[in-house]
């Protein structure tokens, strides 16, 4: 199962410190895990939310650091793709996978797959038993749709104001965090539904 999907910055942000990442979209799936760990005391909903936000912030920071190290090591220049060149941007994207140890920040060990497209990172946090080949493919598909439908290659801020589009996308391609084995016909059928939603 996928625990969460994030879109966050992997470039320096002036308002934040070095190495910090701004989380632009975050969707956590399933019931809150703190309900099931044996705690000394129960968390209130407010505390649970703060905890969740801090966990995703930690993941975003770690991916930011991994992405910048990976880009530095590869030594490639970041090319700016223009709107309309989504496929190219995706092809040029850096990718990798990070091991999140148990406790840092989730109670169990997790794998964080990430794709870095210019200044944004798209991250899927999966349970380690998950089929990472499938997860990688799903992440690429999700990223492609996000780039296209939210016009991320342009200067707009649609990722913040049109996050319902991402929710609709996730409800089809990653319902409640479930990765799906979709051949091109099933995928086509779902993508038609997604496209219909986006044109509203």
């Amino acid at each position: 199962m996928v625990r969460c999907f994030l879109i966050h910055t992997v470039c320096p942000v002036s308002a934040l410190g070095a190495g910090e990442s701004r989380v632009l979209y975050c969707r956590v799936f399933g019931p809150d895990e703190s309900l099931f760990t044996d705690q000394e005391r129960e968390f209130s909903p407010e505390e649970r939310r703060v905890l969740q936000r801090e966990q995703t912030a930690v993941v975003a920071r770690q991916v930011r650091s991994a992405a910048s190290l990976s880009r530095g090591a590869a030594g490639r220049l970041l090319m700016e793709a223009l709107p309309g060149e989504e496929a190219l941007a995706l092809q040029e994207a850096d990718s990798g996978v990070l091991r999140l140890r148990a406790g840092d920040p989730f109670p169990e060990e997790m794998s964080a797959l990430w794709l870095g497209v210019q200044s944004l990172g798209f991250t899927l946090v999966c349970e380690p038993h998950e089929n990472l080949l499938l997860a990688e493919g799903t992440l690429r598909t999700l990223t492609r749709h996000c780039l296209e439908h939210l016009h991320l290659l342009g200067p707009g801020s649609e990722v913040l104001l049109r996050s319902d589009r991402i929710d609709a996308l996730l409800s089809r391609l990653l319902p409640h965090g479930q990765l799906l084995f979709l051949n091109h016909r099933f995928a086509h059928s779902l993508e038609k539904e997604v496209a219909a939603y986006m044109t509203k």
Binding site: A15, V50, S163, Q178, F186
Partner: protein, 818 residues
């Protein structure tokens, strides 16, 4: 992409004033009352969502607004379902919330409302009740809800199971097992009735059902799976996809071997199978006409008598075998070819899982797995599929008495040496090693000799995999390979550079002159230096600890010292060395430890010249030299010749200060008869003379050009060492005393060439005076500077006569008894 505009939007959302926010809320309520759900509504809801999610602290909405948004969840327009669900997820659930779970029926909710309910669950009881409702919905065949409500059942159940498998009772598990069997094995093999494809001319004749097809276009001849295509799909075909997607997780949760296969369980299973054969189960689709007898399974009829869990296992087995066969077909589209790979991984993992539970399946599964291995093992693009196959071989190979040699040759041979730059393969392979460490150490003898290959992952991308190696390195440290491993770790940055050169060499044409000054690339390609690089790129340990021309290699690679990969690699080597030394003391005998000390001394000047690298390595060496000698003081005696030679070279004071200081210290501390009976007076004298000569030299001349003044610590350590040695052989005392008094005289004259700081000089002289006065009484000096063992290892807690607790108790009794 990420612009200033987005930053300012977030800032505005966070800093919105409360009065403005309240106005916004009331405007929203008015809009919602208006029932005209148009563009303005959407825009306002999107802004509301941004305001609520911009802060990590939760806000509470006014109850009127909350109520209206709640009712929007069941709006016919999906956009409002999504928006209201997203907004409500960012707020506190209403106070009297526990009532909601019994009132709302999750089965009738759309996917977005269900997600909200799930995220707001406040306790285990809430989650359990959600589970029960979902299953009740599945049970009742008359599900009036739209197709969607059925498809999102499995994902929701699956996500609940991750945390709370106990919320399903045995009956629930049975029910779901039966459903899964139906969906997996008995989904329709005809294409969905394309309702939308109807045109003016479609009549009953053209609506003839078309069978589903395989990915290469041929008509499907077996049951429906995720690798079958059609123009449109029926509901049960969708459920087939969802079922397979959730299958492995389900099997791992409810079919894992640890789930108590006790006698009670067997009795229960027997009961179930009896009851099944008596009851006429309505849910059993296999009795419906037209069900396909699969070519994959020869036992489909007899399996009807199995209890549900076993039946699911059998059907999963068949499904996976079919997928493996289907993956051999040439898909027309690339996305389908990728899916075939993912299906192969999943199928092999599921087969592994069911074979764990029922060992008799191993003999049926192995021919299939073996054939798959034979098909794929020469194609490196299937490397990630071959890893689950390796896991299968590891788990079941022994039982099936199959030779796994070729599998390990791939995993420890070809994969690291040719695919070291694939981050996903690296992650998965290292994870495989971590999870199966015990098993591998037992069954794969070449594991401990494969470190030159495995370290290639680390040399290429240190930050990504160093965490895995922190866990794996201890298992690679053995007495037989320790020395070679130490050399390999020290030269890891060189390996890093070599791998970069290897990759570049294949990219750049040979004829191109490396006019950009890539001398290292030329060297890599030239035949005279080939051997050096080939040694670094070797796959297995055992052909030699290191090479003679190591310094040549370092010179050739000098320009690589600022390459990012090399720098990143150099930063993690000290960490690994610490782990290495901490582990090696548990497996090594004294002879090996003595050899390692030798290696440390040799390599301290034989390292790739990366800024700060040398210093860090010296620091690690120093701390472990100290530790080794403390554990085994006789090591100093064993390696006295080399240690003396090292400490007698004045150049070492300036170039390897840290190590030098520690070598001198251990000589002073442990070169005594009480540590090792082989220690002779001649040895002590020759050591003394060597150290004395160095001390004279550094305190009477200017440091050589380019070097700093020696740190005060070096001087004081030398002085202390000389004093300690003298206290063991009293003839030497006059010589030390003479030197120390001379030192006092010289330094009274003001500043000296070999010490720049006046305070340091004072400290050195003070120490000198202390030692001088101590040595005036040789007996005292001996017991202070060479204390016998029973003084340095206090055993007061063991010696009952002087035990502190005993004394305290006595005192307490005396003072409190009256």
């Amino acid at each position: 992409m990420y612009s200033h505009g987005s930053e300012s939007l977030i800032k505005q959302a966070r800093e919105i004033q409360d009065s403005e926010l309240q106005k916004f809320y009331s405007r929203l309520v008015k809009l919602l009352q208006g029932k005209e759900l148009g563009y303005e509504m959407v825009d306002s809801l999107q802004r509301l969502h941004l305001i609520l999610s911009a802060n990590k602290y939760i806000r509470t909405l006014p109850p009127e607004l909350q109520k209206r948004l709640q009712s929007l969840l069941s709006s016919p327009a999906e956009q409002f379902q999504v928006l209201s669900s997203a907004v409500l997820r960012e707020t506190l659930p209403p106070a009297a919330h526990s009532g909601n779970y019994s009132q709302e029926n999750i089965v009738q909710l759309n996917s977005h409302a269900a997600a909200l309910l799930l995220s707001q669950a406040g306790s285990r009881a809430d989650v359990s009740s959600l589970c029960t409702q979902l299953l009740r919905g599945l049970e009742s065949r008359q599900s009036e809800g739209p197709t969607n409500s059925l498809t999102h059942t499995l994902p929701i159940l699956n996500t609940i199971l991750t945390h709370n498998p106990e919320c399903l009772t045995e009956d629930h598990v049975t029910l779901l097992s039966k459903k899964l069997v139906d969906w997996l094995r008995y989904a329709s093999i005809l294409q969905g009735g394309g309702a939308s494809s109807g045109g003016f001319f479609t009549g009953p004749r053209s609506r003839q059902p078309v069978p589903i097809a395989e990915l290469d276009g041929t008509v499907s001849g077996d049951f429906f799976t995720v690798l079958c295509v059609g123009q449109s799909f029926t509901e049960d075909q969708w459920m087939n996809v969802f079922s397979f997607s959730a299958l492995r997780h389900w099997l791992l949760t409810y079919h894992s071997v640890s789930n108590g296969n006790g006698t009670a369980d067997t009795a229960h299973r027997l009961q179930l199978s009896l009851s099944l054969s008596h009851s006429h189960s309505n849910d059993d689709r296999s009795e419906v006409d037209g069900s396909v007898v699969s070519m994959v399974s020869a036992t489909s009829s007899s399996s009807r008598l199995l209890p549900p869990k076993e039946r699911l296992r059998e059907k999963s087995f068949q499904y996976c075998q079919r997928l493996i066969e289907q993956s051999d077909r040439k898909a027309h589209k690339k996305s389908d070819a990728d899916l075939q790979k993912a299906c192969l991984v999943e199928a092999v993992c599921i087969l592994d899982c069911v074979c764990e539970e029922d060992a008799s399946l191993v003999f049926r599964a192995f021919p299939c797995i073996k054939a798959l291995f034979g098909r794929l093992n020469s194609d490196l693009s299937f490397a990630r599929v071959l890893l689950p196959i390796a896991q299968f071989y590891l788990n079941h190979g022994e039982m099936a008495a199959v030779d796994c040699g070729s599998v390990w040759a791939l995993v420890f041979g070809r994969f690291p040496s040719e695919l070291f730059n694939d981050p996903f393969l690296a992650h998965e392979l290292l994870r495989f090693l971590r999870l199966n460490l015990e098993s591998l150490q037992l069954r794969v003898p070449q594991y401990t000799h494969s470190f030159p290959n495995l370290l290639k992952f680390l040399a290429w991308d240190s930050p990504a995999v160093v965490d895995d190696f922190v866990d794996l390195l201890p298992s690679l440290v053995t007495a037989g390979t320790a020395v070679e491993l130490l050399h390999t770790l020290l030269d890891l940055p060189c390996l890093s550079a070599t791998l970069v050169l290897q990759v570049r060499s294949t990219c750049l044409p040979i004829s191109e002159q490396s006019g950009r000054g890539l001398l290292s690339l030329d060297a890599f390609r030239s035949t005279s230096f080939r051997g050096l690089f080939l040694f670094l790129l070797r796959g297995e340990a055992g052909s030699g600890d290191t090479i003679d021309r190591l310094s040549t290699l370092h010179e050739l690679l000098v320009e690589t010292a600022d390459w990012p990969r090399v720098v990143q690699c150099a930063q993690i080597v000290p960490v690994l060395l610490h782990i290495f030394f901490n582990t090696v003391i548990t497996v090594a005998d004294e002879k090996l430890l003595a050899h390692l000390i030798l290696v440390m001394l040799e390599r301290s000047s034989l390292l790739l010249n990366i800024p700060k690298y040398n210093k860090e390595i010296h620091r690690v060496f120093s701390s472990h030299l100290l530790r080794l000698c403390k554990l085994h003081p006789s090591l100093v005696m064993d390696q006295s010749h080399e240690l003396l030679e090292f400490s007698g070279a004045t150049a070492n004071v300036y170039s390897k200060e840290e190590i030098y200081t520690h070598v001198v210290w251990v000589l002073g501390e442990y070169l005594s008869v009480s540590c090792d009976s082989r220690c002779s007076v001649t040895l002590i004298t020759s050591c003394f003379e060597a150290l004395e000569a160095v001390l004279f030299e550094i305190t009477s001349s200017v440091p050589p050009p380019g070097a700093d003044c020696p740190a005060p610590r070096v001087v004081t350590t030398l002085m202390s060492a000389l004093a300690k040695l003298a206290s063991r052989s009293h003839d030497l005392i006059p010589r030390v005393s003479l030197f120390l008094s001379k030192l006092r005289t010289v330094t009274r004259g003001g500043s000296v060439a070999w010490c720049s700081d006046e305070e340091d000089l004072v400290a050195i002289v003070t120490r000198g005076e202390e030692l001088w006065s101590l040595l005036k009484a040789p007996g005292v000096a001996q017991s202070v500077l060479t204390p016998p063992a029973h003084v340095t290892t206090p055993q007061w807690h063991r010696d009952t006569n002087v035990a502190l607790p005993l004394r305290l108790r006595t005192l307490t009794n005396l003072t409190h008894s009256h």
